[in-house]
Amino acid sequence: MTPQKLVLHWLKGRLSAADLAWLEEKSTLLATGAADKDVYTAYSSALRHSGKAPLELAPADLDSAQAASPGWDPSDWTCEQAARVALLLALPPGSKSSQLMDRVYQTADVGEAVALQKAIAVLGHPEGHMARARDGIRSNIQSVFEAVTVRNPYPAMHFDALGWNQMVTKTFFVGVPLHLVVGLDRRVNPDLARILNDLAHERWAADRPFSPELWRCVGPHADARALEDLKKVLNTGTPLEQRAAALALHASPRTEAARIIYTHPELAEAAQTGALTWERLYDGE
């Protein structure tokens, strides 16, 4: 099933027949060429027909999402977002539509901006959404930033290193859990490792805490300074920080890393066997 059919299918059980009919009618209108004004008002009015209830998709629905579009994870979507995305998916993919979406985004309220950013996970013509997605990363509105960053495959698939590193680094400033970022381990790089290692030093100097998930991006590209830092965290950190250090060291290809981690055999083994993972880092906290 196409993403659009899938979204409408999910809404079928959740919207009244009249509201669904409205959405289908507007989708057809947008697919066949509507005036800008009609797109703006349809996109804005969608909420009045959808409500804001969570979609609460079943595991089978999430599998269908993955099958329809790789990396698509609508597990936290609401009916509002689904309805708005259905309209965006109706627009014929191409630069004309993505420019129209830019204009919708310019005057978007918070809920509209969030749905637009979540939509890039499934919209065609990905290059047409780049500037808007990068703009979402600059947003100080938490929910807009999270719409790009969390459970959204677009950044890992399409951002260049500068944009990607900026996004990942900002998660530590605004408090987005790193394990919700899609494609993280695929996109680690030496620059990002250095930027985040610098950030750790800044926070230590200021005596301010930071999420130990930071070490996840440092481990695979750890240099001599990073290994020293990880050794320190492994020996003197809180249990949570120690687990993070162990995982980071485990991900380093350097033999020195292996030597450090084996000073804590139980953590080394947990990382080795998969009993300890980044996803389970906070278990027991």
Binding site: K37, T41, S45
Partner: protein, 305 residues
């Protein structure tokens, strides 16, 4: 409408001009929801794009800013009377308004009305009244500072002429001179507590004593000028102290705003009662919506920042 613990609504305040200290103090004083009417920003706008970005900010960033303090932010959309006098620009703004008026949390067309009572002001006032009717939204009317009595009467006449029900129109910035006519004609009657130029809150106590609470609303209209973002809770406290019944105070400072603007379908008590309120005392919660911890504490005795 039960109201315990004390909750207040400021149904007219220009938060884009206020600081985070104001938000902190407002939340602490019990303000749970605000309405930000689109208005003049002090410096006249000369480009359509400035209007567009201003409207976007009151449905976007300002909404987010308020949410950080547990305050639900709503707005009205409209072309104010002063800037209606730039006709070429006003004409373009008319095309922009429908693009915003249907958005979430837009509770009225406003604030519109008269400033100098020029022909241009009247023209765009009338166009926007028709829009409100078509969009099925309430209207918030700004009454002029100068020639207020005539301006207020005339504003109501024009609303009636355009077929608007007084029950869907809020006339704002009233005083002792205008109150009776506005109430008698069935319009919502709002009073701006604005120490120097409009109403002081002692005068508001007298209004409550004289007229009770039916269709009466208090607001701060706090903006970029000298004004008080806590005017509504302060007025409520003063009224209680002066022996105004609690139900009257509750209606004037909370309940009536819900009745008036709730007619938009966009202003529901449930929105703020269900709102997740941030713990403003939290220093670090893996969640620094509030960069670096909580809002700045204006308490000078707390020296460590």
């Amino acid at each position: 409408m039960a109201n315990n613990p004390k909750r207040y609504i400021d149904p007219h305040i220009h938060m884009v001009s206020r600081t985070t200290d104001d938000y902190t103090a407002m939340a602490a004083a019990g303000i749970v929801a605000v309405i930000e009417p689109a208005f003049w920003v002090g410096q006249p706008r000369t480009e359509l794009g400035t209007f567009k970005d201003y409207f976007s900010s009151i449905v976007g960033f300002e909404r987010f800013r308020a949410s950080q303090f547990g305050i639900k932010h709503y707005c009205t959309i409209g072309l104010n009377s002063k800037e209606a006098n730039n006709e070429a620009l006003a004409e373009e703004v008319m095309d922009l308004i429908p693009r915003f008026a249907g958005k979430e949390g837009v509770v009225a067309i406003g604030e519109i009305g008269f400033d100098e009572m020029t022909a241009a002001e009247e023209k765009y006032f009338r166009i926007q009244l028709d829009m409100a009717k078509e969009l099925d939204l309430p209207v918030m009317i700004h009454t002029p500072h100068r020639n207020k009595k005539v301006g207020t009467s005339r504003s109501m006449d024009i609303c009636i002429e355009h077929g608007l029900s007084p029950a869907r129109v809020v006339i704002d910035h009233n005083n002792e001179e205008t109150a009776k006519e506005v109430l008698d004609r069935g319009f919502w009657t709002a009073f701006t507590i604005y120490p120097k130029t409009k109403m002081g809150n002692k005068r508001m106590v007298d209004i409550a004593r004289r007229y009770g609470s039916e269709r009466i609303i208090a607001d701060s209209s706090a903006d970029w000028g000298i004004s008080d973002a806590l005017a509504v809770p302060k007025t409520a406290n003063l009224m209680l102290e002066e022996g105004i019944p609690e139900a009257t105070v509750n209606a004037i400072c909370y309940g009536n705003a819900i009745l008036a603007y709730g007619q938009s379908g966009q202003f529901n008590e449930k929105d703020w009662l269900d709102m997740v309120r941030p713990d403003l005392t939290q220093e670090f919660a893996g969640n620094s919506l509030l960069r670096g911890g909580g809002p700045e504490n204006p308490d000078l005795s707390r020296l460590i920042v």
